[in-house]
Symmetry: C2
Subunit: 289 residues, 2 copies
């Protein structure tokens, strides 16, 4: 978009739309991306100028505003979530929804960072999160950098960690939340939610308002991206499974709302019944998905 040769607003808006369409096609499941792209497009549409240089400036300004709001949003999630985790000694998280995935504090880890800044350091158990190992490569790294004690486990060890009483809460991010409170997030989240409930451990989803998609009534309407089987069958270039077998590689799953103890947003903590409380918490917002 920055390099666009468009001569007027219509041409530039078309270039923005093309770029947005390309970016939107990258991942079907997460909805914040669509929200941010739409917001930039709307800013261009609403502009009262035909000057392309000014429109480019506007796009940059809008993107930076989104980033700044993202940082403020993460901080607000951290504040609201800190109250929920205040009595925990350790939490378990899945995938990465921290500093590396967002501006500043992240979502799932924001309450942990907020508490650490207040001098209360929680331990974090990080699921490695196969197949792409975001927990091992990103979550463990950023927590360790921040001086927060992190213990890495394989995904299938979460149940045993819970059974031993080592974690008092689970906190994860979200890629899309539907009107009824169903949560799409990284593959494996649904299983962790079931295990948490079975062990009487609260399961918290931390996500900004832009993650909610009120156009969908429930999670079974969320498209689930399936990715290259080689992510499972190979480790880098090295095969770890025989050739010729089938592989199922969904990148996300849907956690039904009944497993979710609360959703932590920048606007506050949303609890069941979700349908009413989500609508109320987000009211006044014009999201326009």
């Amino acid at each position: 978009v920055k390099e666009s040769n468009a001569q007027d607003k219509a041409g530039f808006a078309a270039a923005v739309q093309e770029a947005a369409g390309y970016l939107a096609s990258s991942r079907p499941t997460a909805v914040n991306l669509f929200w941010a792209l739409k917001r930039v497009q709307q800013a261009v549409a609403a502009a009262a100028t035909d000057d392309v240089a000014a429109l480019k400036e506007l796009v940059l300004k809008e993107a930076l505003a989104i980033r700044d709001e993202d940082e403020a949003m993460c901080r607000a999630i951290g504040e609201h979530g800190a109250a929920l985790l205040n009595d925990a000694a350790a939490v378990l998280t899945h995938c990465n929804a921290g500093t590396l995935a967002t501006a500043r504090y992240g979502t799932a880890l924001a309450p942990v960072y907020t508490l650490a800044a207040r001098g209360k350091v929680l331990k974090v158990f990080a699921d490695e999160t196969r197949p792409l190992l975001q927990g091992a490569r990103l979550t463990a790294w950023e927590l360790h950098q921040a001086g927060i004690p992190v213990t890495l486990i394989t995904d299938n060890m979460a149940a045993t960690v819970m059974a031993r009483g080592w974690v008092q809460a689970v906190t994860v991010g979200a890629d899309r939340i539907t009107a009824n409170g169903d949560v799409a997030n990284k593959i494996g989240t649904y299983g962790v939610a079931i295990l948490a409930r079975e062990h009487g451990i609260p399961f918290y989803v931390a996500a900004p308002a832009s993650t909610f998609d009120l156009s969908l009534a429930s999670g079974d309407q969320i498209p689930i991206e399936e990715r290259d089987p080689a992510e499972v069958s190979h480790f880098g270039l090295r095969p770890i499974a025989p050739e010729g077998i089938s592989i199922f590689n969904p990148a996300f799953d849907v956690t039904p709302y009944r497993y979710v103890t609360a959703i932590i947003t920048e606007k506050g903590v949303i609890r069941p019944p979700y349908k009413q409380n989500i609508a109320r918490a987000l009211s006044g917002e014009s999201r326009g998905y």
Copy 2:
């Protein structure tokens, strides 16, 4: 033991005991190994000869007898389990308890092989089973070799496979089963058992009588082997996690009996209440752990 220079029965028995002690020290959790070692030692103790060559022959004979009985045992488990899986179109399994882990048919997979031999081919979903990937490297391989359609998934995809209604049963092996029916098996089994119950899917444990340890009242008395953190933090020699973090790497977990739908043994299918029914099924056996 074959190369022992012992001159008499006492010396040879000491050599057998030393070898058995070494082998027993290899893994603390599985109990069949201890059972087989004890059985060989008892055969030597009961022998009425001082001739070391004859005693060596006896050890070999006993080992081969155990192998043949193992094969017959796997076939019997296959027969008993086939009746339970007859109406299933697909099953999910964790780790490897098939041909590669036993003599012939295996335990967890024996019913699948038995049904296949009868012309009824089930689909199998194989958890890859981190960290050592027995599901990807062994289970997927042996099923594919046998012409049974296998779909490999990462461990954290099991819940989604169940939610989609793709499997009608779970079948796993066991390393030790206590008097109350608690089951120690490869790490991750406990989580799969919880997920199965949550989805109303029967959870079957297939294991020979030698897996039962009636000297232990419940699973919390089973020692759980913890292994090298590098199994989790590295892939081969390649690091996949930052240095300096903690890693928890238990090789097994314990599934409480209440999650186990039935235990398939060579003596028949054992159902709850386990305490009475295990004792009854194994009565007449002198196991002498």
